[in-house]
């Protein structure tokens, strides 16, 4: 029982990371109808920025954190201008191929600059964690869960109760109508990309002390986050979060009870099971294309 509780805590912690990246996926998907295959690389790049600022240059953790997030905002903007925006009037296939190209470019540029050796990033807190009854609560996992709760709450408040959030929603639902109402669609899409890059970056920085900082972390996280969005129902914000948590838990238990080397395979199995048996996910409902 103790082990189960411990695994549950770890699963939720890792699932929260997937949920954050999945949220970035969903936001861009809703704004542009395109899945951004480089979403995972945002996490990876942010983790490397942290390594550069906090480890290599030795700057304070909070300053490095802010600089890394600033860097991600810049990357999100460049990504939009360089990859998505020129192709916005084309069909979805060229756009996803371009985002795949961008993902390869980002991962391998970092590899070329930093080399294949995985890097280590310390956690935010000096204290490693606290013992609560039978369960050991690692401080970094606690931080991840707390940040995720805060962000999800912020997300809800931002999209439902601020003018900017409502404009973003309007843009994602009907670009033409939004532009007729005087909303600058290109600005809204720019904001979406920047916000998603920052979210992805945040997830990467939070998870970096748990995993190693490596080139592969981007694609691994992206696959899990994508599986999470399908489990939850594509395009659904709540679904992405529930899906992320569910996947984190499944994977942690799978690694403990079934097989460690194939840990990353469970996401794929769950993904295929959902695609075959419930492609609309737990919450979502696919809407047929209008004839």
């Amino acid at each position: 029982m103790d082990l189960v509780l411990q695994l549950l805590f770890t699963g939720i912690g890792i699932g929260a990371v997937y949920a954050l990246v999945a949220l970035g996926f969903v936001l861009i998907f809703r704004a542009t109808n395109v899945v951004n295959f480089a979403q995972g690389e945002f996490s990876m790049v942010a983790a490397y920025l942290m390594v550069v600022f906090a480890v290599d240059l030795g700057w304070p953790y909070w300053l490095s954190f802010l600089l890394a997030l600033g860097g991600m905002a810049l990357l999100g903007a460049i990504f939009n201008l360089g990859v998505y925006y020129p192709l916005r009037h084309r069909t979805f296939l060229p756009v996803i191929i371009a985002t795949i190209g961008a993902s390869i470019l980002l991962a391998n540029s970092v590899l070329a600059i930093y080399g294949p050796q995985p890097q280590v990033l310390e956690g935010w807190f000096e204290t490693p964690g606290i013992q609560l009854g039978p369960v050991y609560l690692d401080s970094q996992y606690l931080l991840i869960i707390a940040v995720t709760i805060v962000l999800v709450t912020f997300n809800y408040w931002f999209f439902e109760h601020t003018m900017l959030g409502k404009k973003l929603q309007a843009t994602s639902q009907d670009k033409e109508m939004a532009s007729l109402l005087g909303i600058s669609v290109s600005t809204m899409i720019m904001i979406t990309f920047i916000y998603s890059a920052v979210l992805g970056g945040l997830a990467g920085i939070l998870v970096a002390p748990i995993l190693f900082v490596s080139i592969q972390m981007g694609s691994t996280i992206a696959l899990k986050a994508f599986a999470a969005t399908i489990i939850g129902g594509f395009g659904d914000v709540a679904g992405a979060i529930i899906g992320g948590l569910a996947l984190g838990i499944i994977e942690t238990f799978g690694a403990a009870y079934v097989s460690v080397p194939y840990k990353d395979g469970f996401a794929f199995l769950v993904l295929v099971a959902f695609l075959v048996f419930r492609p609309q996910g737990i919450f979502g409902e696919r809407v047929a294309e209008k004839a």
Binding site: V34, V35, I97, G101, I104, N108, S219, L223, P261
Partner: protein, 593 residues
């Protein structure tokens, strides 16, 4: 209506095109020369390896040109399929001492099954699902290759891989691979003009339209994907025999990216482009070896190239060459003479062609169509009208199978089609056009109409070959007045003409019932007159038409029978003049006092 006998007589009188193999003889002569060169020319080991790699990679890239180029579906696991074939040959010949041919065939079958399974689980959904699932699959295959050491030898890889008795020397084996390349290349090149290839292109251009002209969209996509996987497996098997050693890193996601880049660079739509892309991306890295000293730099450049190609050269090098040389190439001059269009709608179900009973379609709480009954009599024009939002187009979409009915039944010519997908309804005899025109935009007018003529269940075509299809398509285009422009691309036609091509596509299929969704929308007044005359000529041949439109002049003049919907319910039904005077209809259109 004229007797079918006359029709056959005209067909026989037209000149036949020469047999295919005869026309393509130069290709086979060229291929034979290449095989001869490969088997006799003195080459050193280094050049031999490069040629071996280029030949096998090109076959794998042909696979991408089928799935991505022809069918518009993405495959980011081509290296995994390549690896399945390579490991089948590798492990089979070295560990289990099986025959090379058996292993090569086995590898293709394994790749086929894996491809079909992935495709079937994913291809009903949007393209981004396929992209992610193929990436996941790629990673699983790599995981298994590295970790299942009992089977795969893990990171050490497989060595001492055998070759067939017949091709023991590396030179003869290379010649064998070149011959395979030529054969596969021919098949892929020819595929786009075959029924399956046309179906793939139709699916790529417009899935909804492909469904309503009778193409099984899902099966076509799965076929394309499985075919691409098989070519990957075949290429991998050949590769393993050529190099006698394989290891997991040769089949990683990075290699899938390399295949994708080769395909995009050369031109995804054609096997010639695939060959160009493969050749360049194998040679360029050999010239720029210093780039390999920095890990990652290489693939970073590939990633950047993908973005740039997609943005600036979407059709690749070969597409670019094609555009440049277009003006020197002669336009295809086919005989434009075609017999008059015959329409011979099937008559199985008696006097009633379409019977709709208690049909409902609800979107959540919205009752878009609510308990509607009506019958369409054979051999006339029946109109379905109603104010905006009355449920007309929803009804049409339920009738053609794009939406699933919430309840009720739809019977077409005696067949219950209520639960059929669109393509099966097409087989049952339904044809339709769309309000917002849905043509296959990368094709010519003729090709669009040929795909219509190809409808399974078209009794006027049956199992006849390309000549009969082309002829029927020409007849249909001439019937709508566009016969002389048959070889022009869709984009060069005006909006009104595109509408006519869509009608020709439906007519060529020889449907039992033709659904026209607002055919007059967006037409100017002279085009409307032409449309009206066309409808008369169609009806004169005995084809039953169900038309939706807002143009009251057109509806009242063309239709003998009218059904009126308002707020999803039927408010009137009967002979047209009577219905238009019905007080409920007048108030629905003009409001009550």
């Amino acid at each position: 209506m004229s007797a079918p006998g006359e029709n056959l007589a005209v067909t026989a009188a037209l000149p036949r095109t020469k047999p295919l193999l005869w026309r393509h003889l130069p290709y086979f002569i060229g291929a034979a020369i290449l095989v001869m060169l490969a088997s006799t020319m003195e080459i050193d080991g280094y050049i031999h390896n490069i040629l071996m790699q280029a030949t096998t990679f090109a076959i794998a890239v042909f696979g991408l040109s089928v799935v991505l180029g022809l069918c518009g579906q993405i495959n980011l696991a081509q290296a995994a399929f390549f690896g399945l074939g390579a490991y089948a040959v590798g492990l089979g010949t070295s560990d289990y001492h099986l025959s090379y041919w058996f292993c090569l065939a086995g590898g293709c079958v394994i790749a086929l099954l894996a491809g079909a399974f992935l495709g079937m689980s994913t291809l009903r959904l949007g393209g981004h699902y396929l992209a992610m699932v193929t990436i996941s699959f790629q990673q699983i295959v790599t995981l298994v290759m590295i970790n299942s050491i009992w089977l795969t030898h893990g990171p050490d890889g497989v060595s001492r891989i055998g070759r067939p008795e017949l091709f023991q020397s590396s030179q003869s084996y290379l010649a064998f691979c070149v011959a395979m390349l030529a054969l596969v290349g021919y098949a892929v090149w020819h595929l786009s003009d075959m029924r399956l290839g046309r179906a793939m292109r139709a699916v790529r251009d417009n899935e909804l339209a492909a469904g309503v002209v009778g193409i099984d969209v899902f099966r076509t996509k799965v076929s394309a994907f499985a075919l691409s996987a098989v070519l990957g497996g075949l290429a991998g098997g050949l590769f393993a025999g050529g190099f006698a050693y394989v290891s997991p890193d040769q089949f990683s996601f990075a290699e899938s990216v390399v295949f994708l880049t080769m395909s995009l660079l050369g031109g995804v739509a054609s096997p010639i482009g695939s060959a160009i892309g493969t050749g360049l991306l194998i040679l360029i890295p050999e010239w720029l070896r210093f780039l390999k000293s920095i890990p990652g730099l290489y693939l970073a450049i590939y990633g950047l190239s993908v973005i740039l190609i997609i943005r600036y050269m979407p059709d690749g090098i070969w597409g670019f060459v094609n555009i440049l040389t277009a003006r020197w190439r002669g336009k295809p001059r086919m005989k434009l003479a075609a017999p008059g269009l015959q329409l011979a709608p099937a008559t199985i179900g008696g006097d009633i062609v379409l019977s709709v009973k208690a049909l409902s379609k609800h979107f959540g709480g919205l009752k878009a169509v609510d308990n509607v009954d009506f019958e369409v009599r054979r051999g006339g024009v029946h109109a379905l009208i109603g104010p905006n939002g009355s449920g007309k187009t929803t009804t049409l979409n339920v009738l053609s199978g794009l939406y699933k009915a919430t309840s009720g039944t739809v019977t077409l010519d005696g067949t219950d089609v209520t639960d059929m997908p669109p393509h099966q309804r097409a087989v049952a005899g339904l044809g339709r056009t769309f309000q917002n025109i849905r043509l296959f935009r990368s094709m010519t007018a003729l090709e669009n109409v040929v795909i219509g003529a190809e409808r399974p269940g078209n009794t006027l075509i049956g199992r006849a070959g390309d000549d009969a299809l082309n002829e029927r398509a020409m007849s249909a285009l001439s019937f709508v007045g566009l016969g002389t422009r048959a070889h022009e691309l869709i984009s060069s036609f005006s909006y009104g003409h595109q509408r006519l091509i869509e009608i020709a596509r439906a007519l060529a299929a020889n449907p039992t019932l033709l659904l026209l969704d607002e055919p007059a929308a967006g037409l100017n007044s002279s085009e409307k007159l032409e449309l009206h005359a066309l409808l008369k000529r169609i009806a004169a041949q005995g084809l039953t038409i169900l038309i939706i439109d807002h143009d009251m002049t057109l509806v009242s003049e063309a239709a003998q029978h009218i059904t009126v919907l308002n707020f999803g319910r039927r408010i009137a039904d009967g002979e047209s003049m009577g219905v238009l005077r019905h007080p409920d209809v007048v108030s629905a259109y003009l409001g009550t006092e």
